[in-house]
Symmetry: C2
Subunit: 298 residues, 2 copies
């Protein structure tokens, strides 16, 4: 059986892999050399795009952010049309569920190569944990991230705000949270400023106002947060991009972790303490989820 | 021509690759899957061992540190005998120069795999820059690393002191230094404590005393620094592992960046200013280099 047939046969674990030329590749076969700087140095950038019913969400903002991350790492500027071709190829070959997480990976390439970066797109199923979290909400732990907001402006080598492949700390923070019985993490800066989740953006709601921390303190501008804010503004909400303190997330009417894969997920428990007013929180979550989805209704 | 023949034919770019079973692999062929967590998350650990005339230096301390790094990342404990077999295979197949940098890479493996980690050893030539730096010394820039020494103890998710594959910041700091006309970087903690280089340990000499900062502030314990201190103690030097301030490295008789590949390299220029007493520094460098080499004379 061909690998395409194999992938089709195991739909739950379906993966689709394509290069920038749009050619499909066997996801079970090795792709990267042992000296690829992604593997030996975490030296590259990525994006994860949500695809629903064959339509990529926020592809433009994702490719823009990929380009900004690449620039921060001194990687050659990615070619948007090549990435779009790759995205199209993965989506066309997808035979999994209605939703797919499409990971775009762009690395500095082999250390002992000709200098050509490595680039590929990989279509993956949405994890069971993310699907459950969208419905049930999550418990989160605040953890120190270990830098001051001022570093983002003055220490470009720290790559704050670049979505790099060096995510070992983000993954370790999630494992740490899990050991403490929590699902998620909210990172805090050394001065207590609320930053972001390891793979998500923090959003709080108070009345008809949504707030999220500013990228200038060393975090990623969220593509899903951007879409949510756009939709909320159209529906008459006020949106603010401003610094948040731990009290702001504890005292908000609603606390959310948003990302492509988890969409708008609400936090029901913070640092081991259930947040008050669960039912109004659920209602708020339903309202914001609906607003977010309204961006993609035709 | 077989790939082994190709490797032999291009000795300057020679690379030897082996798996943990000791089987040789084609270094030009892809090894890692697109979903290997090394490539997508920098999720793994590594070591670089110097091999001279077929003998690996400090292999025990390197494998010990690999095991400690792996534990910090919740990776399965590496099997030392398997790694020794891999090291032996790479060394036996090496047809390059007298010296080889042997990189040991241990990753969490494919995200959509059976949970088996990816592990390999890769023999590489010593880079021209490192060879030159050993002789001529280097200029270095102090750069903020963005965390406080206290984080090492209280924030295990930051993986401070683990040698992870998430080295994008370390590489970005070196590129930043290069743009400022410097060869190397000395990282400082947020309180000004001297930490380490992106791929090296900081050592200072004053009189007959060598000092290096303590791993407890969130840095790697240096294998080459350990060997140098061992040799120095035997020769009657005093060695201290204690915190250093920027003034300590500026005012020392000698400032060194030590690592497996660069051995003992002296710093002649710090933050754009030539350090005083160049000739005594060179003499000190020659003496410490000789001490270090004495560890491996039979």
């Amino acid at each position: 059986m061909s690998w395409a047939g194999r992938a089709w046969a195991y739909c739950d674990a379906m993966r689709v892999l394509a290069g920038l030329d749009g050619a499909l590749l066997d996801p079970e076969a090795p792709l990267l050399r042992a000296d690829d700087l992604a593997a030996t140095r975490g030296d590259g950038v990525f994006e994860t795009v949500l695809v629903v019913d064959g339509k990529p969400r926020e592809l433009g903002p994702h490719l823009d952010r990929l380009a900004r991350s690449a620039a921060m790492l001194d990687l050659p500027a990615p070619d948007p049309s090549a990435w779009e071709r790759c995205v199209k190829a993965v989506i066309s070959a997808w035979r999994g569920g209605r939703e797919m997480a499409l990971k775009l990976v762009y690395t500095r390439g082999p250390e002992f190569g000709d200098g050509t970066p490595t680039a590929y797109g990989m279509g993956l199923p949405i994890g069971a944990g993310a699907l459950r979290a969208r419905v049930e909400g999550v418990s989160a732990l605040t953890l120190e991230r270990g830098f001051a907001p001022e570093h983002a402006g003055r220490s470009p080598w720290l790559l704050l705000g670049a979505k790099t492949l060096s995510y070992a700390v983000n993954m370790a923070a999630l494992r740490y949270a899990e050991r403490q019985g929590a699902d998620e993490v909210v990172f805090l800066a050394s001065d207590g400023s609320v930053l972001e989740g390891p793979t998500s953006t923090v959003v709080v709601a108070n009345g008809r106002t949504l707030r999220t921390p500013p990228p200038s303190i060393g975090i990623l501008p969220g593509t899903t947060q951007g879409a949510l804010f756009r939709a909320a503004e159209r529906a008459g909400w006020t949106t603010k991009v401003e610094r948040l303190r731990p009290d702001d997330i504890r005292g908000a009417d609603g606390l959310f972790l948003v990302s492509s894969v988890r969409k708008v997920t609400f936090v029901h428990t913070l640092d081991g303490t259930p947040l008050p007013n669960l039912e109004p929180r659920r209602a708020l979550h339903a309202e914001l989820s609906d607003l977010y989805e309204s961006e993609y209704r035709t």
